[in-house]
């Protein structure tokens, strides 16, 4: 019963969020601000994880596909496919669910327990819309950009690993990276990322917006935001993979 209660309340909140903004220019300014807070400030962690992720995928593939029938460029090909189709959109979204989700839930939760959300509502502002909509839109714009950067850095990380360890000659790695490249793979990854961005920002916003009590409850809301947005990202990853790759 509690699950249905939360699902119902989540969809009501989303409906409130999507109401017409009071002043579009203020929302636009907020979106730019949130793109910096939620996106650009995550660039560092995304870059580090992507480079190492690409390097590890390349080395793992090289050690696990050591077969005379498999061409050596298959390592580069497998690295590219793994990074573009799965690692960059899903793993980076999971990382962002942790970093951005906890930030959104704790920021909005603190505003709730310190009566700042009440103050917005008393003024006649759609508090849910003002606080959550810019975060959703900013995430849906900036996360795909982060994922594209992650793809480049992941493939670059594989190249660096190949150069340092020599598990695959660089020319073969580059050939594998370019081999039978399909543009649709990028679209597929970006569609998933946009859906994940919506899930992360809206689910985290939901837990923050309905936080009650004090610091302890804001902490709980933040933890729940990360846990549930991660679960929904994984769940929707399965659903979208089935829908988009069939």
């Amino acid at each position: 019963m509690k699950l249905f209660y939360h699902i119902g309340r989540y969809f009501i909140l989303v409906w409130i969020i999507l109401q017409k903004p009071e002043r579009a220019s203020i929302y636009r300014r907020q979106i730019v601000l949130e793109m910096d807070n939620l996106g650009l400030q995550s660039l560092g962690i995304v870059a580090i994880i992507s480079v190492f992720m690409g390097a590890v995928v390349t080395i793992q593939t090289a050690f696990n596909t050591d077969h005379p029938l498999l061409p050596i460029y298959a390592i580069g090909f497998a690295t590219r496919q793994a990074i573009i189709l799965e690692f960059s959109p899903t793993v980076i979204s999971l990382i962002l669910a942790g970093k951005v989700g906890s930030r959104i839930a704790s920021e909005i939760g603190t505003m709730r327990v310190t009566e700042q959300i009440d103050a917005l509502e008393i003024m006649g502002v759609n508090a849910a819309g003002y606080l959550i909509l810019p975060k959703i839109i900013a995430s849906m714009i900036i996360n795909p950009a982060l994922v594209v950067i992650s793809m480049f850095l992941g493939i670059f990380g594989g190249w660096v690993a190949s150069a340092i360890t020599g598990v695959v000659p660089l020319s073969n790695y580059v050939y594998g990276i370019l081999f039978e490249f399909s543009q649709y793979d990028i679209y597929y990854a970006l569609i998933k990322t946009v859906v994940f961005a919506f899930i992360i920002a809206s689910v985290s916003g939901y837990f923050g917006f309905y936080a009650k009590g004090g610091a302890l409850q804001v902490g709980h809301a933040s933890t729940k935001a990360v846990v549930f947005s991660s679960i929904y990202v994984i769940l929707f990853n399965l659903v979208l993979t089935q829908i988009l790759l069939v």
């Binding site: 009566e115 003024m123 006649g124």
Partner: protein, 250 residues
């Protein structure tokens, strides 16, 4: 004027407000007093629509607030100003941005006019050179004054103050009380103040309503409160040694 008719509210089957009927007059500082847990804050939250009453009506100058939908209420809320117990300033915004917020959101004023209004509001609450400070850099009394400045920025018709001087030292508390009273008279607004501070009652209580265990127990003025024969009110008023010294008969 705000009128409350037969208001009821309960939480988890426990009644918190029982048949409250009350009127808050325009141009006067209307105080709602009572012990902690008596239902003052719930009453105020019902008045502004943050909590939905179970039964009863609330009228803002004969406009039935209880019967209004979401959009109509939002229109009325633009006429409200509220001072929260903890000031509730937006902590990511500077003092100036906090006061500009409702002006940016709801007015078509030019940048110059808005700046003028911000300066006027800050001058009115006697704050200078704080425009670029963040709420975290202000003292408790200063935060309350900024919150008052933000509340009056859009020229509200109704002002609500929840425990405006809680956590403040006596001189600052009286300063805030007097500010609220002066602003009420100056702009002819309907002000409702929740308090359990008797200094506030004696300083600014034009009309006083005493709530006891969710029921309206007594109404009157600050002059009448010392001579009431109401037992529960006297127990509240004469709880301190100081008050008993002032009126040895009680």
């Amino acid at each position: 004027m705000i009128r409350v008719n037969h208001l009821w509210k309960e939480f988890n089957r426990k009644p918190v407000l029982k048949d409250i009927s009350l009127a808050f007059e325009k141009g006067k500082t209307n105080l709602v007093i009572g012990q902690s847990g008596s239902g003052k804050t719930v009453l105020m939250k019902c008045l502004v629509g943050l909590v939905e009453a179970d039964r009863g009506n609330i009228y803002y100058d004969d406009r039935d607030f209880s019967a209004m939908g979401f959009k109509e209420r939002r229109a009325i809320r633009k006429e409200l100003g509220m001072l929260f117990q903890g000031a509730a300033l937006f902590d990511s915004l500077t003092v100036e941005e906090n006061i500009l917020f409702p002006l940016n959101m709801f007015t078509t004023m030019t940048k110059g006019e808005k700046q003028k209004r911000v300066s006027f509001c800050l001058d009115r609450v006697d704050l200078h050179n704080v425009h670029h400070l963040l709420p975290a850099e202000l003292s408790g009394g200063m935060k309350k004054r900024v919150a008052i400045a933000r509340a009056i920025a859009i020229k509200p018709k109704y002002l609500f103050c929840d425990e405006p001087n809680s956590g403040l030292d006596p001189p600052t508390a009286i300063l805030i009380d007097k500010l609220i009273s002066e602003i009420t008279a100056e702009f002819n607004i309907t002000t409702v103040v929740n308090t359990h501070d008797l200094n506030s009652v004696m300083e600014i209580g034009d009309c006083v309503a005493f709530i006891y265990k969710g029921e309206l127990w007594w109404t009157g003025t600050r002059h009448e409160i010392l001579h009431s024969s109401n037992k529960e009110l006297n127990h509240f008023v004469y709880a301190t040694e100081l008050m008993r010294t002032l009126n040895p008969g009680k």
